[in-house]
């Protein structure tokens, strides 16, 4: 390892290292970020939730969206799996059903980035995952 010769050096280094703790820092302050929960119960996994989860993590990073993606158990919408719950900072959570990769892409691009409404929103049964 080379020596750090200046504050600039250090800043560069930090940028490279940022990813190491990015996930932890965002989790610590999750309310300030877009939070996405992917329903990952057995039925969800069978219907491809894992792929959606992986896709979301990568796509969000590619598009420079600061978001926290977590897994969740059964969301209670087994009929519409895979499902994801998106919470933008300061807004009510919205649940999307029948999420495919294309759909996920659209959610990121239109709902998260531009704030437009996207098809596939499931009717809220007035409970978020936390309140189960």
């Amino acid at each position: 390892m080379g020596k750090i010769k200046s504050l600039e050096d250090l800043k560069k280094k930090k940028q490279d290292l940022q990813k190491k703790v990015d996930l932890r820092e965002k989790a610590d302050d999750a309310e300030s970020y877009v939070q996405i929960k992917v329903g990952m119960a057995t039925s969800g996994i069978a219907s491809g939730a894992k792929e959606i989860y992986d896709f979301l993590v990568e796509a969000l990073e590619k598009r420079n969206v600061e978001a926290v993606v977590t897994q969740a158990g059964d969301m209670g919408y087994s009929y519409a799996e895979p499902t994801i719950e998106v919470t933008k900072p300061g807004e009510e959570p919205v649940v999307f059903g029948y999420v495919t990769k294309d759909k996920a892409d659209e959610i990121i691009e239109r709902y998260i980035k531009r704030g437009e409404l996207v098809d596939g929103i499931l009717p809220q049964n007035y409970r978020t995952i936390d309140e189960e």
Partner: protein, 596 residues
């Protein structure tokens, strides 16, 4: 670089390690391998999470799931259920005192009121990896100081922040730095006091174990500000994990050029060495600490001269404790103004406390100065164990005093605690409930100071011993009313004449319990009664004739043959023989044995 989707933080503080954090980490990694998740989930052993009551802790990120009392056998379930299926393992979740499982740390009362400055990286980063520290803005403050600030500006910044020494006395850190800076003599030394000695206190250890670079960075900043190029950490040899992590950190910092010759490519040199203490409480006193580092007997000397005038090897020396240093990089990075906004006017920032005793959430917490005792004990601490009644809280360790119900709404800061007869100390906080006898509590602390006195001055060497003996007599019911007056006088003289802070404050627990619980003292002396029912010698086990059926169960259980009585006749306990073990109470099925 692998981009992990999830992080598993395993608490690697001394407490959790003692209960298998190492094997938890290992078996988590094995489970991940088994399911081919090793590239998606990273396992990191961090410093202390503070929630020691329920260790070992495993925290899952990014969802902040907080698993408590995890055993190595539980790791498979965490991986299979949580990581793969997305289902929290309910049985490992923290259960709130009022009932109900708590899903994540964000919803735990223990963490809600805390603001973590000194502990900012504890339980967050891998302390054995400098990269993680740098990713958290580590060494930015040092870089800034070296490239943009003069020593005087650094000192002014620290002064402006209002940072006061976290080791006990609360002396303004910036002022101390300035004294050392103004002394022209060379070489100068920067010393970190890591000789944490209060019973039950482990804040410094946790910082060193969880974030060693923060202390190294701050010492280098102090070195630059005061004009010193040598740093010494006086650490007790009983802290092997902290020592190991410090050694690793020092090595890494040297490799990166953050310590050693030409720090940050400038002409500033600064290096840090470790000095081991044998764990004497008195060596927390700065002059005693310095003598101990010099290889002399660890006993205090008269001040002046202060260490800034004549310290280690007779040279100007700045001594601060671990927690004080840990605040410094944040002050430089975020500014004195930011820091000052936290806390109270005269006690800025936060304070770390080791919460212990009869409280639900035993552990390490950091709260803004000015938080009330009530908030700490009842919200963060989750209230008193087993639904008992709160009686008192001892702050400041053996040098502090016992505070009561009426002090619960006192905002905690240096001056308020002094005003009510206690002190901040290094941050020990021991909670007592209705079962605690306050005379015994005072005796417990005295026992500690008697053990830890260096023996140099007579009032501390002999006086505290006599104080302890008299307290012992009181708890045995052998003291007389006039002894209480003598007790008080001895306390005042010892406080008035002792050489160093240890002796001067040793009587504080006695004085404050006498002040707040005078009736308890009187009850012991006049009625030979312990109101809390905890002083063994004052207990009487008696048989209630109405309830006794003469089953002989108690007589058979009594280990010393103190109980006599014919079968089917009322039994009797011979008080001269009884050793108050309580076996008869357990043996009796008719509630016929009572304790008076």
């Amino acid at each position: 670089m692998t981009r992990y989707k999830m992080h598993l933080l395993v608490c690697g503080g001394t407490g959790c390690r003692a209960s298998a954090a190492d094997s938890i980490t290992e078996s988590l990694k094995e489970s991940l391998q088994e399911h081919n998740l090793q590239d998606e989930v990273q396992v990191i052993m961090t410093g202390c999470f503070g929630f020691c009551e329920k260790g070992p802790i495993v925290k899952v990120l990014p969802d902040n799931t907080f698993y408590t009392e995890v055993k190595p056998d539980d790791t498979g379930e965490i991986v299979e259920e949580h990581l793969i299926k997305g289902r929290q393992v309910d049985r490992l979740l923290y259960e709130a005192p009022e009932g109900g499982k708590v899903k994540d740390s964000k919803h735990m009362d223990f963490y809600k009121k805390q603001i973590r400055i000194a502990l900012r990286n504890c339980g967050f980063i891998d302390p054995e990896n400098i990269d993680e520290y740098i990713a958290r803005d580590g060494y930015f403050a040092l870089g800034t100081v070296l490239s943009e600030m003069t020593p005087q500006q650094v000192i002014d910044q620290v002064k402006e922040s209002g940072l006061r020494g976290r080791g006990g006395g609360g002396f303004p850190a910036g002022l101390k730095w300035e004294f050392a800076y103004k002394n022209q003599e060379q070489p100068k030394y920067v010393v970190c006091n890591a000789d944490e000695g209060d019973p039950g206190a482990f804040m410094d250890r946790s910082i060193l174990e969880g974030d060693p670079h923060a202390v190294l960075e701050a010492m280098a900043i102090c070195g630059y500000a005061t004009g010193a190029d040598k740093g010494l950490i006086y650490i007790r040899a009983e802290y092997p994990l902290a020592i190991k992590r410090l050694k690793i950190a020092i090595e890494q910092a040297r490799e990166y050029g953050m310590l050693g010759e030409g720090v940050f490519g400038t002409d500033f040199n600064f290096d840090v060495q470790l000095r081991y203490g044998a764990g004497a409480f008195v060596c927390g006193e700065e002059t005693a600490l310095i003598h101990s580092m010099e290889g002399e007997r660890g006993e205090p000397t008269f001040k002046p001269p202060f260490p800034a005038e004549s310290g280690y090897l007779g040279k100007p020396t700045n001594v601060n404790n671990v927690e004080t240093y840990a605040n410094v990089p944040v002050i430089i990075n975020k500014g004195a103004g930011w820091f000052k906004k936290i806390g109270t006017e005269k006690s800025t920032g936060t304070k770390v406390f080791a919460l212990a005793g009869k409280v639900n959430n035993v552990g390490l917490i950091e709260v803004p100065m000015g938080t009330t005792l009530r908030e700490v004990i009842f919200e963060i601490g989750g209230g008193i164990k087993d639904g008992k009644k709160f009686k008192a809280v001892q702050t400041g360790g053996p040098s502090g005093g016992c505070l009561t119900e009426e002090h619960l709404d006192t905002p905690i800061d240096f001056d308020n605690l002094l005003a009510v007869g206690s002190m901040m100390g290094s941050g020990g906080m021991i909670v007592m409930d209705e079962d605690d006898c306050m005379v015994s509590v005072a005796k417990f602390f005295l026992e500690f100071t008697v053990e830890e006195s260096c023996g140099k001055c007579a009032p501390c060497r002999v006086g505290n011993k006599r104080l302890h003996e008299l307290l012992e007599r009181i708890t045995q019911g052998k003291a007389e009313k006039k002894d209480l007056q003598r007790l008080k006088n001895m306390c005042h003289v010892i406080a008035d004449t002792s050489l160093c802070g240890l002796g001067q404050t040793a009587p504080s627990p006695v004085l404050s319990t006498m002040e707040n619980f005078w009736n308890e003292y009187v009850a012991h002396v006049e009625d030979q009664r312990c109101p809390a029912g905890s002083c063994k010698d004052l207990m009487r086990y008696e048989i209630i004739p109405e309830n006794c059926v003469g089953c002989t169960a108690c007589a058979r259980k009594c280990p010393v043959g103190a109980i006599t009585g014919e079968r089917k006749q009322v039994h009797e306990i011979d008080q001269d023989i009884c050793i108050k073990c309580g076996a008869c109470v357990d043996a009796c099925k008719f509630d016929a044995v009572t304790i008076k």
